[in-house]
Structures are given as C-alpha cells and as structure tokens.
Amino acid sequence: MGRTFRAFLWMRWRILINSLERTGARDTLERFSIATEKLGPIIALVLLIPSSIALFVLGMTGGFGVATGAWSIAFEVIRYFLLLALALTLIGPIILPTRDSGSIIRLILLPIPRMTLYIGQMVGAIADPWIVLVVPVVLGVAIGLAVGLKFVAALVALAAGVAFLLFVMGLTSFASSIVHLLLRDRRRGDIVMLIVVLIIPIVAIAPQFIMHSDRATRKMTRAERAALPPTTAEKVVKRIAPYVPSEAYRRAAVGAATSPVDAALPLATLAIVAFAVQAAAYAAYRRVLDMPVSLGTRRAGSFGGLWNRVIPGLTPAASAVAFTQLRLALRTPRGRATIASPLLMPIVLAAIAYRGGRMPFPGVEGHSGIGLAIFGLAASILALLPLSLNQFAIDKAGFTRQMLCPLSVRELLWGKAVGNALIAGIPAAFCLVLPALLFPGTSPSQWLGLALAGFATYALLAPAAAALSALFPKTVDLNSIGNSSNAHQGAALLGMLSFVVSAAPSVLLALVASKLLHRPELVPLLIFGWSVVAFGLSYLLFIPVVRFVDSRRETLAQYY
C-alpha cells in the first residue's frame, strides 16, 4: 500500500510541475493567458499558509478558553467554521469538476487492491481547501486544551477531530461517487444538474421562509424576538442539531473539558456517523469501479424546421452557427443553467420582497416592476458571461469543423453573437414580461426603453466577449455548473468590466433624463438613440475583433 501511495504522490507532483513548466504555449499571448489562469490557484495556495496559521491560533484560543472555563467567542467561530466546511463538503462535488472516468479506468487496470484505491481517493479529498483548513483547527483545539492542562480532554478533542475529518473526507468521497454514478447516464446527469440549478436559489432563500419572518417581528428588539415561542421549523432544527457532526465535535470537545463522561455520547455519535459514512463511501466507490464508463445513448428532440431557418440579417452559414450555439447550450447543464437561473431571479426576488413587506404584491408600483426587470435583465446577461467569454469552448471539436467549412471568421463571430443573444434572450424576455404583467401601471415606452438598454449593452459586450474568448481560451466541462465550466479568470474579470462599461451609457442616460432634466419620458427616446449608436459601434468593433480571432485560430483549435 505504501508503494502505491508513493506512486500516486509522485504522479500528482509530476502533473503539477509539468502543468507549470511545460505549458505548450505557442506565443506570448498564450503564455500570458496560461499564466493568468494559474495565478488564481497559486494565490489560493499561498493564502492557505497564513489561513492555516490563523485557524491554528483560533483553534488553540478556543481550546484554551474551554480548558480554563473562560468561554470565548473563538469556539463559537470554530463551531460555525466546521458547519461551513460540512456544507461545502456536500456541494463541493457538484460545483467541482466531475471525476474523469478515464483515470478511474487506468487505475482499475493496475494491480492495486480496491481498498487501496478507495483510501487513495478518500485521502485525496484533503486537497479541498475547506477540508485541509479543518486540520489546523482541530489540532489547535487539542493543543489549546493541553496547554490549559486538560490532557484527557485534549485526547478526546483530538479523537473527535480525527473522526470529524474522516467523516468529511468520507462524505466528499461518497458525494463524488454518487455524482459520478448519477452523471454516468447522460440523460439522468442532465436532469440532476438542472434540478440542482433550480434548487440552489431556493435553498438560498429557504432560511427567509423557515425562520421568523412575520412583518411585525421586524420592528421588535432582539430580546423581544428571543422571547417568542419557537416555530415548528426551529424546533426541528434544534432536535437535529446535536447529531450534526460539527455540533457533535463541539459537544465532545467542550464536554470533555468538564467531564470525560459528558464527551462519551457525542464522541460515540461522531465515531458511528464517521464509520457509517466511510462504509457507504466505500460501497459507492466500489460501484463506480464496477462500472466507470458512461451508460446509455441519448436521442435528441427535434424542433422541426426551426433550426434550418435563416435569421434575417445573417447569412445561412452564420444562422447555422447561431442555431448550433443555442442548440448546444440547451444540451449542456451549464447552458441550461444560463437560461434557467435568471428565470428564477425575478420570482425569488419578488417572493423575498413580498415576504419582507417591501412590495405590496400584486401591486401597481411601477418603479418596483422596473427595478425587478432591470435586475432580471442584468442577471440574464451576467449569466451568459461564462458561455460568451469562452464562446468557442461549447463547440469542442466542432470548432475545427467550423474552420473546415466555407465559413468566414466574420460569419462565425456574428453567428456566435446572435446565438448567445438567443440564449440570453429567453430569460431576458421572461424577466421583462413577468414584471410588465405584474405591474401594469408602468408605461409601455419604459418597458421598450429597458429592452433597448439590454440590447445596447449586449451589442457592445458581444465583440468584447469574442475578443476575450480568443485571448483567453479555456477547455471547460459544461456538464458541470461550477468552476470547471467557468470562463478563464482573465476573461471573467475583463468581461465583467466590459459589462459595466457597456451598461453604463444606458444607466447614465436614464439618470440624466429622470434626475437631472426631470423628464423621465425622455428616457426611452434617449436609449433608443443610444442603442442605434451602440449597434453601429458594435459593427465597427467587430472589424478588428474578426482580424484578431483569425490570427488566433490555430491556438483556439489546440484547445478544443
């Protein structure tokens, strides 16, 4: 087993070093692109050192405080830190890249026992920052207790810390195996990812609905609110809390400082839960090893002749690119998330506002409707950025096919721009129509002005997105909705800046007309004028961008 782990360690080390030393960059621009992409992880790695020291000190302070009986805020911080690590462990496998089945197949072919493979995979979870940062905390607590002369409690805290770590590592392994098992069937995987996309915003607002949210309580003091009888949801949370591993760890460490007997039950709970999770993770991993490849074939739905139409203003070739961009987006979880997540924004925001009493719902507050629509429109364009700032990645090998077709770079870029506009257009239209229906008091010209502002913003953003896609290409996994499907960090940063610059003129014109001139009726007219100018600017900007993308074709083909 030792030899196997040494081999694993060496392999990972070489992969890391090779990725830094042998980038395969062809020119200075590509070297710059690769360097900026690696900058983020390197900074994160460097930041881990002071973070670990700070967390170790926090752990020691907490442990010492418990040992001396001076209950400190430090242990409360540790409590919530461990709870956060637990939550991140659960969502980590969804937002991180999916496990490469190819590497699993290679491992199965080697003479390595399954248990060794499992331990290797499970220990690999320590590379997740939220897990590695748990280590200095639990070590610090044990040392802090020992410094406070509570040696038995220190041992108990150390045992509880090890059990907690085994639990989170087992949970990571279990969750990633389950995600792998779910995703190996493409159809099922797509459905799972879509459900996750829909669930995440609902989970984010759930506390708003579970906890006290009566409008009357908003005016109460903290003491008055504390005196209120607990709701059913709060009762359930209180009942479950002791069995949550982070809470069991806290109870074990704190209990051991007063009496080792008090620590016995939480420590046993933690050990049992850790063992159960490890057993489940091993069973799930064995199933992954039994069948690591993708299953089933997928038939695609037909949209009749819709896809074969020529979009007015585009050539047939550019229309084909536009519809292909939309079709590919609809067939990837990340693409679907781009469309689905902004759709939820106005609904979630309206629900929160209604719950908070800030919006008489249904009402006739025109400003609220416009605000909601602006937010939805911005969310639609922003949700598109990960796709549009790396717009050739969605084609994968199809990018080369486009290069082989009688298709000019200009047609390719216009097709991509219109395809991306269609992707963002679906949620944007919904985000305009829904508030327009809910707030009928607002003048139609204002809604039109808003739609034109969205158009002007996108028109200016499109050439920038094309240029950034060529400058910062990145191979992505669009089956994931997390970081691995995001655009290059450099592109994301500059893309966000481009969005702000593109949106600013519309915002400024609206402010000038309504606040400075006090003539809000001028807003749609001014924005109409600006949208014409923006379209002209976009057309002109595409000329150098076409040349730039043409000069980067070879580099792009290497990535996809």
């Binding site: 695609a300 047939p316 084909a320 990837t332 199809g398 077709c405």
Partner: protein
C-alpha cells in the same frame, strides 16, 4: 498536367521544430494520392496546412487552382475533409451534424434530404441519425465525419486515416465509393498506416519522413525507381529508413 494540390517549398515550424520542411507536393487532378510516412513525419501537419487549419511558415500552395491564403472560403466550398480528430460537435446528432454542413454550404432542403439519407444509409447510420455524437463509438464518428466530408459533393477529399476503426463491411463500401468518386474526376488525398489499402487504392503516392518528401509519383514509378520490384511495405521501409534490428527483449 492539371494538379488538384500543388505546393512549393511548403514548411511549417513549431518553435525550433520543423514539422514540414519545404515539401513540393504535386497531386494530379483525378488521382488517388496516398500520403505515407512514419508517426511524427509531418503527414497531419501537411494536411492541416492544406486544409487551412494551420498557416504555413513559408512556401506556396494551390488547391484546385486557388490560393488558400487568398480564397480560403471558396476552397472550402470545393473540398471535403476527414481530419485526424474527426472534428464533430459532441452534442449534435448525426442528422444535425449533416444539417449544419448543409446549411453552411447553402444546400437546398430537398438536396440535403436526399444526400443525407443516402450517406446515412451508406454509412449504416440511419438508425443512429438522432443519437448524439457523444454516444457514438469511434468507428461511427469516423463514418459520420466521412459523410460530412462527402455531403457537399466536393471535388477534392482530404482523408486522414479514414479506415482506422471502421468495420470491414463499411470499409469495403467506402473503398468502392472512393473509387467511383475518383472515376468521376474527383481527387482523393489520403493518409493511412494500412499500406495494403494504400497499395490497392492509390494511383499516386508521396512519402514523407522527418518533414521532407522523400518520394512522389505514380506508385509503379516510385516502386520501380526505388526497388525495381517489391511490396509497398518494403518500399516504405526503404524510403523512410526504418530498417532496424528487431529488439531482443529476452526478459519478456
């Protein structure tokens, strides 16, 4: 003689490596040209230069009488390519892939329907027409890539290892199809490691080694010039200098 592909001093370098080193290709129109070479000799780089995927570092090219650097789109209208990596959209179906090619070529709907039906049937892909390419086997992908290359009825076909991974039945049908394509005046530029196929199909060959063209011409002429007689395999090994003593792995 009219040439479908003609290059002069075609070179391509990657950093300090000269992958293609000043080759002068002459592919007669209406010929079946087998382009041979050992792994890493520069075959795929040459095809990529000829099909516009790579810009040559130096040299001149004429494809069907046109300059690819001046008329790239016009050349692509007349040329079909099965590239090394097949270049297919993973999340399109077989039919959608062909539909994309048809649309980009501005093909009328009826023409597309008739040709795609014929090609899918020929490649035995009719049952998989609405299956995503991501779910295809390697052989099915290769057949689809070939169908995509044939759909616009090109005058010149660049095929990079077209028979690798294709079953015997489809392979035979494709060979017959390519034969009749050449018989009707089309030109095929093919690379393959299967020398028997090249020997059986080709009228002309070119052999590349270390980026340099070491032989070119009618297959009989090249064979006669180099060996007098012998198989293509013997000719190939002699030309690329691949005669090495067999390794004696007595530990095996």
């Amino acid at each position: 003689m009219e040439f479908a592909v003609e290059t002069r001093g075609l070179s391509r370098t990657f950093g300090s490596k000269r992958a293609v080193d000043g080759i002068d290709l002459k592919v007669p129109a209406g010929s079946f040209y087998g382009f041979l070479g050992p792994n890493g000799a520069g075959k795929s780089t040459t095809i990529k230069c000829l099909t516009g995927l790579l810009r040559p570092s130096s040299g001149e090219m004429r494809i069907l009488g046109l300059d690819p650097l001046v008329d790239p789109v016009e050349i692509k209208r007349r040329v079909g390519v099965v590239p090394e990596d097949l270049a297919l959209f993973d999340r399109l179906t077989a039919l959608e892939t062909l539909s994309f090619i048809g649309q980009v070529h501005g093909m009328p709907g009826e023409t597309f329907a008739a040709r795609s039906t014929d090609l899918l049937s020929l490649m035995d892909l009719t049952g998989a027409a609405t299956t995503l390419v991501a779910d295809f086997s390697h052989g099915m992908r290769k057949k689809l890539s070939l169908a995509a290359a044939l759909l616009p009825a090109p005058r010149l076909l660049f095929l990079d290892e077209p028979f690798e991974g294709i079953d015997a039945v489809a392979s035979r049908q494709i060979k017959e199809l390519l034969h009749s394509f050449v018989g009707r005046g089309g030109t095929v530029f093919l690379t393959s490691h299967i020398l028997e196929i090249v020997e059986r199909l080709s009228t002309h060959i070119g052999v590349i080694a270390d980026g340099r063209l070491v032989a070119q011409g009618r297959i009989e002429d090249v064979r006669a010039g180099a060996l007098g007689k012998g198989t293509l395999e013997e000719l190939f090994i002699q030309l690329v200098g691949g005669e090495r003593p067999a390794a004696d792995l007595n530990w095996l």
